[in-house]
């Protein structure tokens, strides 16, 4: 069993004899998977024409009132359960007041003092063992619209399609210690939410964004350093780069005897540096107060239990089961459960293989050939050109000796275009492995006859030549000869 620790990272920043530890906390904004917005019935469809998914509520017309979308509440609770977190039966929506062109109400409806989900935890699988990361809270809030500054030199355009879309803000404890842990954490959150169907985790479409809080402290120090918040970094790679830059910047300041200002910083992806956006003194006063248009949100035990009873198997449990049921290594299981679509694909392959299944072979083919194919095409497993069913057939063909592993690779290539049935490919192309001992015997006899001199040398002790005969036999069969049988027959005949 892996050991779960809170501090397993060895990511340290060295300056001469001084070593610094990096302390990171994340505020992840995850868009709730839902057909309509948090407080209105407008659609949330991504990529629609600007300002076509906007109701009078989203555009904050006079006298328009928010009405909570129950489905979004369920999604938040579901996510809370997935994060092993406390579900709060009573939560309160507050107004966060500030002016911006893409914030029609002049305030964002969020949850400040009383969030819907309290403390929880997630487990990360790191190369040196498991690590627990604490969740501080999860709350529901509205997204703002989008300001577009680069369409016109004079004007800013505003698209309110996103205005009012439900977000879950998931706040971690400052438990992360390295860019790698941050990456693993984001991936784990994403994985859990995709298993639950509560967020599609699509970072390109902005469904998953994060603000990163970074501070540094001398190793073994118990106190936290002054933190800086890096806003809205929208890819894991940029997050890691931003942390690396920011941690080093802070260490340099300390080494120079300077102090770190608590501030909000922006990551410039082109220059690979963080820049001050606003200092603590300039921080907004959001004047939070309970939204008088909404009553406190109260849910019953029954409501929560109903959601609980419909929670699917989550990555950690699935991993455990894969290890127990299929005898997989922890490493293999981790890869297969990392994304729900991969796990689904794997389980379908296993199911389709039937009784005489070879799990190891399936794992190798999925994580080897299939992943390489998906990578080269830059597509997700859900878009795989080879279906799980056909991959299962291919693996069975290897397992029952119809084709060799080598021929299988050729068949695999031929399957890509149009998800062809490997059985048919083998038949049509005559790729079936020759396992008829009589036919192979004749073939071998001919090779030995044709290479009398080498056979003699072999008998005299030049054992290396065995490989030569195997090669000749395979060549003569067009690669279709059963290699095991060839070996056996050659040994007998020579």
């Amino acid at each position: 069993m892996d050991e779960v620790s809170k501090d397993s990272s060895e990511y340290l920043i060295n300056r001469g004899d001084n070593q610094y530890e990096v302390v990171i906390g994340l505020e992840v904004h995850a868009q709730v998977t839902s057909n309509s917005k948090l407080f209105s019935s407008s659609s949330t469809k991504f990529g629609s024409e600007p300002n076509t998914q906007v109701s009078l509520v989203d555009a904050a017309f006079p006298g328009m009132l928010p009405v909570i979308n129950e489905y979004c509440v369920k999604q938040a609770i579901k996510t809370g359960i997935g994060l092993n977190a406390q579900i709060n039966k009573r939560s309160v929506f507050d107004r966060k007041n500030y002016f911006y062109a893409d914030l029609p109400q002049g305030y964002q409806i969020s949850q400040f003092k009383d969030p819907i989900v309290g403390e929880g935890k997630v487990i990360l699988d790191m190369p040196n063992g498991q690590k627990e990361v604490g969740i501080e809270r999860l709350h529901l809030e509205q997204d703002a619209g989008k300001s577009i500054h680069d369409l016109d030199p004079q004007n800013t355009f505003v698209d309110l399609n996103r205005s009012g879309v439900a977000l879950m803000e998931i706040v971690s404890k400052p438990d992360l210690r390295s860019p790698d842990e941050v990456s693993a954490y984001i991936k784990k959150l994403r994985s859990i939410m995709r298993y639950l169907g509560t967020c599609d985790g699509n970072m390109q479409e902005g469904s998953l964004r994060a603000d990163v809080n970074v501070s540094v402290r001398p190793i073994k120090s118990k106190e936290y350093g002054t933190r800086c918040e890096i806003k809205n970094v929208n890819s894991i790679k940029f997050m890691q780069m931003a942390i690396e830059y920011e941690a080093n910047r802070q260490v340099d300041l300390i080494e120079d005897g300077k102090s770190i200002d608590q501030e909000t910083r922006l990551f410039d992806t082109k220059k690979n540096e963080t820049r001050s956006m606003r200092s603590k003194e300039d921080a907004h006063d959001y004047r939070y107060f309970p939204d008088p248009d909404l009553l406190p949100l109260e849910v019953t035990d029954e409501f929560i239990n109903n959601i609980k009873s419909n929670i699917p198997e989550l990555p950690d449990d699935k991993k455990k089961r894969f290890i127990d049921e299929f005898n997989l290594s922890a490493y293999e299981a981790t890869i297969l459960v990392s994304d729900i679509e991969i796990a689904k694909y794997f389980e379908e392959v296993v199911a389709k293989m039937g009784k005489n299944r070879d799990i190891k072979l399936a794992v190798n083919w999925i994580t080897g050939e299939l992943f390489a194919l998906l990578n080269s095409k830059n597509i997700e497993i859900s878009q795989s050109p080879i279906s799980a069913k056909n991959l299962a057939i291919l693996i069975n063909l290897i397992k029952n000796g119809t084709i060799s592993g080598k021929i299988a690779k050729t068949v695999f290539e031929l399957m890509i275009d149009g998800d062809k049935d490997p059985q048919k490919i083998v038949e049509e192309k005559g790729l079936k492995q020759q396992s008829d001992p009589k036919a192979l015997e004749a073939l071998i006899d001919k090779i030995i006859n044709d290479n009398r001199d080498k056979a003699v040398e072999y008998k005299q002790g030049k054992e290396k030549l065995f490989g030569f005969f195997v090669g000749q036999a395979m060549k003569a069969s067009g690669g279709k000869a059963n290699p095991q049988l060839i070996n056996e027959l050659l040994k007998k005949k020579l």
Binding site: A60, L65, N97, R287
Partner: protein, 485 residues
């Protein structure tokens, strides 16, 4: 023609149902009288042409089963009306035409009523004299240069001057009851959650309620049963069993217990008000009800609490008027400049004052001392009433500490203006129903009102008591039509 406009809503409905009057005749009469009454400045936007067309349409195929068959009604310009300009008395919404209808007005149109026009009010309902309206102050038909009260001043004035047979206002701290009191009319602020807030320009969400303003209690009951409805579009709307208030109206209040709160005897209250209150107690006794002295100990704190809670909510509710999406926009060199100019030019000084107060009390460092404390006091005020209602069925107080004052008299003294709401704000803070009924005149001959405060959702009982008192009081409004001479 004047005969028609002086009729009560109930008799107009009756005459339409008996086919003694057509919708067109009625509508024409009110339009004609309104045209002659421009001096009162009650209308911001009239809808006369449309109203007349609708009246004709109604008469072609009259549905006499409706509760307001072809009755023209003008409403406060705080209710959004589809395709008809809705300003909230503000420059910032001077060009705003809503593509939607408020639930309360929709309920009226569903019963056959016809929109006559949009009535003047204090800007965003912030005021007690109708002097903060961008569209100018409103004259009280009682006397020249007298304020009609506020914020539903246009509604009260139009009603008292018989420019509309009945009307609706909104009441956040007294905006229905105080102008009703100043104009000798009846005004009901229903229980919070009784009338939907959907489509009403918001002032302070936790206090705002729409309600009827009428010539008599029976009309009030009829309109209330029409406008009060559960509405899933308003999360604070409450799903409770609503009566047919007008049908169940009953003047037998024998044995009812009426509380008299000693804390409403405020310092410096004119003797006339004291006298009126005493008379009110006698009327109640004459009706066979029992008088019980009660205490509402936190009454003193109601006004300061109100002037923290209401501006706090308003400062946030009015943030949407930023020049970006609709309404007035001033040019600026950048976004912030545009915001500043739009809001400086678009909002009047009273609205700006309240936005500033509200912003201040919600600011970090002041939130606990002001907003949070005010919320705690609000709970105490509510529990005062809960306690009192263990022993009484309703509470009787004066509606206002004085009769209507002169235009300009309090304009530069916001505190003295705010003090006008002293008897009405506790009712909003506690979310209770309150009704003001005309009960007498002062020495100058100006009307004075008495307020009855009821238990939550107990509008029927409140209306019944008001109905019984109305009969005993026998109030007559003295309107000389001075503005037409």
């Amino acid at each position: 023609m004047t005969d028609i406009t002086s009729l009560s809503l109930t008799s107009l409905v009756d005459k339409v149902k008996k086919k003694e009057l057509s919708s067109e005749e009625i509508t024409k009469s009110f339009i004609e009288r309104s045209e002659k009454s421009k001096k009162l400045n009650t209308y911001i936007t009239d809808n006369f042409e449309n109203a007349l067309n609708k009246a004709k349409q109604f008469d072609e195929k009259p549905n006499l089963d409706l509760k307001l068959p072809g009755i023209p009604i003008a409403v406060k310009d705080l209710f959004c009306t589809k395709d008809v300009k809705t300003t909230a008395g503000s420059k910032i919404l001077n060009n705003f035409i809503p593509p939607y209808e408020s639930t309360v007005t929709q309920n009226m149109w569903n019963e056959g009523a016809i929109l006559l026009g949009k009535l003047n009010c204090d800007e965003f309902a912030m005021g007690s004299s109708n002097e903060t309206s961008f569209f100018g102050n409103v004259q009280n038909p009682i006397d020249e240069n007298l304020v009609p009260g506020g914020s539903s001043g246009g509604s009260a004035s139009a009603l008292a001057a018989h420019l509309t047979p009945i009307t609706i206002g909104t009441d956040t701290g007294g905006s229905i009851r105080q102008p009703a009191s100043f104009t000798g009319t009846v005004g009901l602020k229903p229980t919070y959650g009784s009338c939907s807030r959907y489509g009403i320009v918001a002032f302070a969400s936790s206090l705002d309620q729409a309600g009827p303003m009428s010539q008599n209690v029976k009309d009030c009951a009829l309109l209330h049963e029409i406008i009060s409805s559960y509405d899933s579009k308003d999360s604070t709307s409450i799903d409770f069993k609503r009566n047919e208030y007008s049908k169940e109206l009953n003047n037998n209040i024998k044995g009812k217990k009426i509380g008299i709160p000693k804390e409403y005897r405020v310092d410096g209250m004119p003797e006339e008000i004291e006298e009126l209150w005493k008379k009110g107690i006698e009327y109640v006794k004459d009706c066979g009800a029992e008088i019980i002295d009660i205490s509402l100990p936190h009454t003193n704190y109601a006004l300061p609490t109100y002037y923290i809670v209401a501006p706090a909510e308003a400062s946030s509710n009015l943030a949407r008027y930023d020049g970006v999406k609709y309404g007035f926009r001033a040019d600026g060199i950048n976004l912030i400049d545009m915001y500043e100019k739009t809001r400086s030019e678009g909002f009047g000084s009273e609205v700006q004052r309240r936005i500033m107060i509200g912003t201040y009390v919600l600011s970090s460092g002041y939130y606990d001392a002001y907003y949070l404390k005010a919320q705690k006091v609000r709970k105490l005020i509510k529990s005062d009433f809960d306690e009192a209602y263990k022993n009484v069925d309703a509470i009787l107080t004066p509606s206002t500490p004085s009769s209507a004052f002169k235009i300009g008299e309090k304009t530069n003294d916001p505190i003295s203006m705010y003090l006008n709401d002293i008897f009405t704000v506790p009712v909003n803070l506690a979310g209770l129903p309150g009704i003001s009924i005309p009960a007498g005149h002062d020495k100058k001959g100006y009307p004075l009102g008495l307020q009855l405060i009821g238990k939550a959702f107990d509008e029927q009982n409140l209306l019944n008591i008001a109905y019984a008192m109305e009969e005993k009081i026998g109030f007559e409004n003295k309107i000389s039509d001075w503005w037409m001479k």
